[in-house]
């Protein structure tokens, strides 16, 4: 290793000599080898590395196809490197707010500029008015645009050029490899869905930037507090704009329909916070306060409350409520790392979508033998999204309100619905009666949707669904 050891900082964690609990020590045990948890990833030189998959234009490939492959991956140095990276990111932001005073480095700012460009494409490509699927097909257009532009944007990013510098020659193949991770961070354009596997691709993109030394260890906290947080906000915008389906949702038995890492990173931010406890997520005053702008975990709770309906946090997110019973944020963070290892890195439906090439390598372990059971189950089922069908001219309550505001050019702030409200029995009865009346008219006929029918006016949209 040519790197001078003195240049590698210790973890961002400032040790508290008075504390009887050493979070670093505990979390290090969750790594593959606790002695290695402080190690940097294996660096590569982007100018001299030999790209793989040249016949596929350098695009990174999926290599985990079977349960045996996944077990092999778990024994590899790449798995250890990836897990250590996530643990290090988590440790480096311990106790830090999103609104801490940062010195934003030049390279971090360049990534911000790149993400802003992709964000602008969302503005440039509005959702289609008429949809034939749950997900809005404008996402495909946005995705294709990102796919096309990313190699150039990354080339300029990494070579310190202004972002939109024209490129006269073809972009070197290695940039297609790094592009694969960023391109696939936003969802799947065929299914128009998004899940924690795509979130992991974004982490792999950041890991590439570290491995090629574009990002230094002292910038890790900025990778989470600024870059990952910006990615998270962009994903929420994509989810709201294009109606991405949750991929692989566990429903109430998961943390969230879309994301995992904001809970892991967010719990680290809150370690030893003076006022906010794990149980604070049940307090609407705290969740709706500016604390949610400072700590990702609370931001997630607020966003869930915004998009979920038909019950309280206890009813639609019992896992989160149960976790709020954990005694402190260190234990929450520790549990999140264990859960991430098991429920994301340990699950074939998710990990079969991970990409590998020359920077993040798939290193096969020939000592891992496929079992008879694994042979019988060789073709895995991919991530299972809702995959809805049907002509959708109606918009559920939350987005209906948002659309109404836009259509009416209202400048007022949307009133916060109290997500602890439960739909009243009377309201349900009214709705049921309305439905009954509607369908009695067509008792002996099936509805045949006319896909060319214009959407009804907003007031009628809203009336179809009980509101809080």
């Amino acid at each position: 290793m040519s790197e001078n050891n003195n240049k590698i900082p210790s973890f961002g964690l400032k040790s508290n000599v008075n504390s009887t609990y050493n979070h670093l020590e505990t979390v290090a045990k969750l790594s593959i080898d606790e002695k290695l948890v402080n190690e940097p990833p294996k660096f590569v030189d982007i100018k001299t590395i030999t790209p793989l998959n040249v016949e596929n234009n350098g695009i990174a490939q999926k290599r985990i196809i079977s349960k045996r492959d996944l077990r092999s991956f778990h024994t590899s140095s790449t798995y250890s490197e990836l897990l250590n990276f996530i643990i290090q990111l988590s440790l480096d932001i311990q106790g830090k707010s999103l609104k801490s005073n940062f010195t934003i480095t030049k390279n971090i700012n360049s990534i911000i500029v790149l993400l802003n460009q992709l964000d602008q494409y969302i503005t440039d490509i509005p959702p289609k008015q008429i949809r034939t699927r749950f997900g809005n097909e404008s996402f495909v257009e946005w995705f294709n645009k990102v796919e096309k532009e990313t190699p150039k944007l990354l080339f300029n990013l990494i070579n310190d050029n202004p972002l939109n510098t024209p490129i006269t020659n073809e972009v070197p193949i290695i940039y297609n490899e790094i592009s694969t991770y960023l391109q696939n961070s936003w969802g799947d354009k065929q299914r128009i869905d998004y899940g924690s596997g795509h979130e992991l691709n974004f982490i792999c993109f950041l890991l590439c930037l570290v491995k090629i030394k574009f990002i230094k260890r002292e910038e890790y906290e900025l990778l989470v507090l600024i870059i990952f947080n910006k990615y998270l906000n962009m994903m929420r915008r994509l989810q709201e704009s294009y109606w991405l389906e949750p991929a692989g949702s566990h429903g109430v038995w998961g943390l969230d329909d879309y994301h995992f890492l904001p809970f892991l990173f967010g719990s680290s931010q809150l370690i030893e916070h003076k006022y906010i406890r794990p149980k604070s997520i049940r307090n609407d005053e705290i969740v709706n306060s500016s604390f949610s702008d400072e700590y990702m975990y609370l931001g997630c709770i607020r966003f869930i409350g915004k998009v979920k309906s038909g019950g309280s946090l206890l009813e639609h997110s019992p896992m989160l409520v149960d976790i709020s019973g954990v005694k402190n944020w260190s234990k929450v963070n520790e549990g999140m790392i264990k859960m991430f290892k098991s429920e994301v890195l340990g699950k074939l439906p998710i990990m079969q979508h991970m990409f590998f090439a020359s920077i993040i390598q798939y290193i096969d372990n020939p000592d891992i033998i496929e079992t008879d059971e694994e042979i019988n189950q060789r073709k895995p089922i991919v991530t299972h999204s809702f995959s809805s069908c049907g002509c959708i001219n109606r918009v559920p309550s939350m987005f209906a309100v948002a659309n109404t505001d836009k259509i009416l050019a209202s400048t007022s702030t949307t009133t916060n619905n109290n997500n602890n409200n439960i739909t009243s029995g009377d309201h349900c009865n009214d709705n049921e009666q309305q439905c009954s009346e509607t369908h009695n008219h067509d008792h002996n006929h099936n509805h045949n949707h006319n896909h060319n029918h214009p959407p009804p006016p907003p007031q009628q949209q809203r009336s179809y669904f009980p509101l809080d």
Partner: protein, 312 residues
């Protein structure tokens, strides 16, 4: 027999309050269910009138709402198209209730298998985790997943309406082929048994195309109409796909999708429906919104027993 009937009524009464049954009772009802199901055909023959129910995914109070809207079993004859578990909070209570109703009124309720009635899927999408949380061990999950292997995979109403969870398979273009499949197994990842639980109709494409889901196929209007003609059927009712209106019809009104989990995942804001099929084979989609959840039966708070294992 009297003791058995008495116990079932007691179980049903308890379940209707959304209370789980003891582990030993689950073993008893799943064993009895396997005995009952083993003599059922892969393709069940059903007489109208019948009410057809789509995916419910553990949304227990919405299942109670179905019985309010469509009528209580056995007053109403029911056909459920599968996907009883995963995602919702009450998969255990839902599948337990439907199992007890089937045992109590075997000729008035038919339960088909969905793609989620499998070990591989339930280990990832919630049912396994739910059993661990509610029972402390995976035994109940094992009892139910063993029972899932015995569920019928299709049904025919009055020799005219073909009912199945997902749809068609290029490997089994005749209903007679489906009747002779070996269904007593984990849902495989490919082949006819997998296809009919995983496939989706595609109004934009013809023929069979491998599904984006990774199992099953998309099937077009052409192969659907050919299937109906070759098998002398009038219509297909299937589930498997979320519909914002609770249902959708395709292919010149020859195929219906019914979805019965309203406001799916508390996120989608969708309507749900059940299909009432009368003696004239007319189909009426009875739509409904999410039931208000009972204020009782809230999950227990602040006990270590309830914490997920990762956080202990």
């Amino acid at each position: 027999m009297n003791t058995s009937t008495f116990n079932l009524d007691h179980c049903i009464e308890k379940l209707q309050k959304c209370e789980i049954l003891p582990e030993s009772t689950i073993k008893e009802i799943t064993d009895k269910m396997k005995e009952l199901l083993i003599s059922e055909s892969n393709v069940q023959e059903i007489r109208s009138p019948v009410t057809v129910v789509g995916d419910v995914h553990g949304q227990f109070y919405d299942v109670l709402e179905i019985f309010k809207i469509g009528g209580q079993c056995p007053d109403t004859n029911y056909l459920f198209l599968g996907d009883y578990v995963d995602r919702g909070y009450h998969s255990v209570e839902t599948i337990s209730l439907l199992t007890c109703l089937k045992l109590r009124y075997p000729s008035r309720i038919t339960l088909l298998r969905g793609n989620h009635e499998s070990r591989q899927i339930t280990q990832v999408y919630g049912f396994y985790g739910e059993c661990m949380r509610k029972y402390g061990n995976p035994t109940v999950w094992k009892y139910f997943t063993e029972m899932f292997d015995y569920l019928s995979v299709a049904a025919i109403i009055d020799e005219a309406i073909y009912c199945v969870h997902g749809g068609l398979s290029p490997s089994a273009l005749s209903i007679d082929q489906i009747k002779v499949l070996d269904r007593f197994q984990e849902v495989p990842n490919e082949g006819a048994l997998s296809d009919i639980l995983w496939s989706d109709p595609d109004p934009d494409r013809e023929g069979f195309v491998e599904s984006q889901r990774g199992a099953g196929y998309s099937y077009g209007k052409d192969v659907t109409l050919r299937f109906l003609q070759n098998n002398k059927m009038q219509h297909i009712i299937r589930a498997h796909q979320l519909c914002m209106d609770g249902y959708q019809t395709l292919f010149d009104n020859k195929l219906s999708t019914v979805w019965s989990a309203p406001n799916y995942c508390n996120r989608c804001g969708n309507m749900a429906s059940i299909v009432e099929v009368n003696e004239k084979l007319e189909r009426y989609f009875n739509t409904y919104a999410a039931a208000p959840q009972s204020l009782s039966n809230k999950p227990t708070l602040d006990t270590n027993k309830e914490l997920p294992d990762y956080f202990l």
